[in-house]
Symmetry: C3
Subunit: 205 residues, 3 copies
């Protein structure tokens, strides 16, 4: 960062942190609905926030980065506890803010998933799969643990957005990695947000 | 391959491809029943087809082969889309063909699971477990995502067949790997097919 | 072991074996309730007994130790079959014995999980997570496969105990690894047992 300009990767990192909070809170909300106890809420918040990246790292053969980066882990734990305190106080985050944060997180997670798969030497179809896994895997684990069919499999455009955003990131990465991450993240964000309006949806059979 | 003879490993590879199609279609069918959207159907088809081998590779410490072999991945994605188009057109694959394809796939997956565990230096009890995991793991993930108790845990003989086929493959492998894979695969196929008749079943308590 | 003294790590190993039996039996019991067949019961017994350590090893980048240690695997399989025979004979293990064995296993698993995360070079927050994963991960897989919300997320103090025991183990390990394992295991055991009384429980929202 020089001359006052903002590094696009910093934007992705900020979006990632916002996503962690949104995902953790969504985990806590699902956990309260499933009548979990305090520990269950911690687990649901945490797996929703970090489960996608955790699984992605295992798939590409790495010890999960979040276990090796203590402040990132503590940030996710902190976000989870904030969600729990909010739930105990019966605070509800305004729906539009939660949706915006979910879209931001999905964008950031899709972009980082794509870039890490590229670093692991994988081809683009695998990269798209890992972008989706990073952005939506946490929610899948959350829903399975809560005894529900994963939302991403029947609602919204988070997966479609992650796939498109991952593909854009991978397509542009050979020219400029940071611009690629930003562009791919924005694509994922926009499509995810479109899904949140519930006016656009995937067909069912 | 010389003199017109057929390499038994080619037979296993062909059976593996047939299995991929059968497993992908079974995933789509379960997904339609669970009212998933298009993305959900893609996931269910794909995890059923490749989830067993994917998990096995992670267990033995490898990046999943399917992510490193783009045509194999694209073949599985293609098989999934064929299943989805078939579902959209309300085509139903004839039951006997689906069962035969499932048995062929189970045979091929059990044999390859056993051989790869051997290459990873594992002892035969672990090899039998990995044969079962390769052949039945995809269906377990499919059912968990669809909110059902995994079929293999309460119906059919796919797991018994995979265990027996894996054991045969491991027992014969020191003499001739290709013959071992073929023999083990056939054992798994026959037992799985016997389970499909529903005249043979495992006891319940 | 010299002069008749008992190595504390031997105590942990004994508690571990008792835990394997208790966990396997609990898996079989849940499997019978879910109407699984013989294979399903074997899977549920086995994943409950070894699933926590299995997952932990994958997370820290190792091939699961249980697959590389054939007698440990065969011991777990044997424990599972004993559970199945007991179930078939409609024997019920007395509740207090099952609870004591569960607490012993939780203590041993939490201590070993913490020590292995330390060996893998992870920081203490990750170590506490791996202690919990080792001690409670098998039960989570068991419940998900049986179509239930994981018990540990809404009942008992097994996770709280594992977290506290893991933390104690990690805190003391720099001075004396064996004493640390023993102390941490006892902490996990006591808290888990307190949870079994159902007089102490975590709050719900």
């Amino acid at each position: 960062m020089t001359g006052g300009s903002v590094d696009p990767l910093d934007l992705v990192a900020v979006a990632d942190r916002i996503g962690i909070v949104a995902f953790a809170v969504s985990g806590v909300v699902v956990g309260i609905r499933a009548k979990l106890d305090l520990y269950g809420l911690v687990v649901l918040g945490l797996v929703t926030a970090i489960g996608g990246g955790f699984t992605r790292d295992i798939v590409i053969g790495d010890i999960p980065r979040v276990l090796q980066t203590t402040d990132y882990l503590l940030f996710a734990i902190g976000a989870t506890f904030i969600g729990i305190v909010g739930g105990a106080l019966k605070l509800t985050a305004p729906e539009p803010i939660m949706k915006a944060a979910d879209a931001l997180g999905t964008g950031a997670f899709a972009a980082t998933g794509a870039l890490l798969s590229r670093e692991a030497g994988l081809d683009w179809p695998a990269g798209v799969i890992l972008a989706i896994l990073t952005a939506t895997g946490g929610g899948v684990i959350r829903d399975v643990l809560a005894g529900e069919i994963p939302q991403v499999l029947h609602r919204g455009l988070n997966a479609t957005g992650s796939a498109a955003g991952g593909a854009v990131t991978l397509a542009l990465a050979p020219t400029d990695v940071t611009a690629a991450a930003l562009a791919g993240g924005i694509v994922a964000l926009v499509i995810t947000a479109a899904g949140h309006t519930e006016r656009v949806r995937l067909p069912k059979i």
